[in-house]
Amino acid sequence: METPTADDLLQFRDYSGGAPAQINVNSPTHATGGGSGSGSGGAGGGGAIGGNTNAQRQRGDPLADLIYDMSTSAQTLAGGGVPNAQNASLDGSGAGGGGSKLSFLTIEYYQQFFNVDTYMVLERIANSMIPKRAAGNYLRMNIGENPDLYGPFWITVTLIFSIAISGNIASYLQQANDGYRWHYNFHLVSYAATCIFLYANILPAILWALFKYSLKPVDAAEAVETDSASYTPTLLSLMCIYGYSLAIYIPVSILWVINISLLQWLLVITAALLSGTVLIAVLTPALRNSQFSLFLIIGILSAHIVLAAGFLLYFFHSPPEVVSSGYPPAAPPAAALKTVTDAAVNAGVVAGNQTH
């Protein structure tokens, strides 16, 4: 009996039909396509090399098509990702447009939102606090070209924890002389996270929708000259600006620990007006483009002030009963009862003193 070769075996299994037949069909392609097809049925192993992908692609195999697309996108990523970072570090203008072809499932797609250097982040934080520091075309040329999410994300996270921590310290200082055994309240973190993340994400989305909705109809003749002055930002730019505008509240929230009411409210007004005016100034090109810009300006400013006042009232001024009201439901009535009875006792004492 003669020993059959591998091809004979494959030929034989071809009669049984089904899946093994595909091996027989594919293996000649591998042999001719560059000799890298070592695995049986290893279209993936051969396709990733990139040498024989074209030959496979012409066969109309959907799997080969998919692999071809993936390998080409991987090649563009490998070629295009690193120069993007280098360019941005050199001229600071960013190269976000280069990554528009990337799939949103890859990590490189998100790297374009983190395409910042240390000095850029510091510059943007400073620009969000100090009025008239940014140039007139800051929104369009700086933020619009390369909006980042690094600053907004870490600023909001820092703000959440700085408010929670200094809120705890403030409540400790308020109760330290009462002989009350202080317990820290971790749930402040959850409340702060909810309200800050909502503010930093929902408000830009609303603002963006309003900008889109209230776009001023532009005359053709007027369009040429106003083009440089008016600009409607993207959603990402708005989120970037709003995230940075929260940065001023981080030092303010630490200063709120000082338990002087006048100072605290002065800080609220100062911080909200500082970053609010910067926000308005930066958004001026977009506001100029909108039909009801006055309404938007008032809305932006009042939301900023309400946020700061809400921080102060909720996290720093609340008496212990209110702070703990979320967790043990039985606590507030008992505490309220205690204050009421205390007041009654005091009133009784006062009344008694008066009668004497």
């Binding site: 009996m1 020993t3 059959p4 075996l9 034989f12 970072a85 570090s89 990590i107 998100y110 790297q111 939102f113 983190f114 910042v116 250097d117 240390t118 000095y119 982040v121 690094y150 870490w154 996270v157 820092t158 924890f161 921590i165 705890n168 055994r181 202080w182 317990h183 820290y184 309240n185 971790f186 749930h187 703990s324 967790y327 043990p328 039985a330 606590a331 008992a334 505490a335």
Partner: protein, 226 residues
């Protein structure tokens, strides 16, 4: 029918009877006995199970030692495991969780799950941040380093727990504060030694700041636990 029988015989008499090979799995931990080729010197199939377990435990112990004495950089990065982080995180979450009694004096400390989530999600977010900034380090290597670097913080938690057995005085609070600060600084320094060089120099502060924040938050939990 005949042809099928033929095939089986042929397979049996085919000229490649020996099925030898090496089952080396890339990425496994081979801390102490790795030869230069990356192939382990031992055979996990033949040895007693006690040796296998002991070798892994020893690898974890070596990593703890490297964190407490952060000089050598490569060991933690090359062979990552998540046993140490799991042990540390479970231990800290168990101690830090608030009491769940329903009286009004119940402290509003974090739940077990909250500490657990802060440690793991926090480490994942910090790692993702350094990946997004363009750092050249694999995901689990960074999570492993961040988890092991919790060791000084966990030690400061033990010390704080012992101090809390005594009365609550200002001096003892100061002692706890100093202990926690030392643990925090140590953890941040160790993770900086291990992770610092994975970033391009102009972005190093951007990658280090989240690590700082991560350990600061956990140290705050340790300090305010009473």
């Amino acid at each position: 029918m005949d042809s099928k029988l033929d095939m089986f015989e042929d397979v049996n008499t085919s000229p490649a009877p020996s099925l030898e090979g090496e089952m080396s799995i890339p990425g496994k931990r081979m801390t102490t006995t790795t030869s230069p080729g990356g192939v382990p010197d031992y055979n996990t199939l033949d040895e007693p199970i006690r040796e296998t377990v002991l070798r892994d435990i020893r690898a974890v112990g070596v990593k703890f030692y490297h964190v407490l004495y952060p000089k050598e950089k490569s060991s933690l990065l090359r062979d990552w495991d998540l046993w140490g982080p799991l042990v540390l995180c479970t231990f800290m979450a168990t101690i830090l969780q608030g009491s769940s009694s329903a009286d009004s004096m119940a402290d509003n400390g974090p739940e077990f799950a909250q500490v657990f989530v802060i440690v793991w999600i926090g480490a994942a977010i910090v790692t993702l941040n350094s990946k997004l900034l363009g750092g050249n380090i694999s995901f689990f290597q960074s999570v492993c380093v961040l988890g092991y670097c919790l060791t000084p913080v966990a030690i400061s938690l033990i010390v704080c727990r012992v101090i809390l057995l005594a009365a609550h005085t200002t001096f003892l609070f100061f002692l706890r504060f100093v202990t926690t600060t030392m643990g925090f600084a140590w953890a941040t320094y160790a993770s900086f030694v291990f992770l610092g060089q994975s970033q391009p120099p102009h972005r190093k502060p951007l990658a280090v700041y989240p690590i700082f924040l991560f350990f600061f938050i956990i140290s705050w939990l340790v300090l305010s636990h009473n």
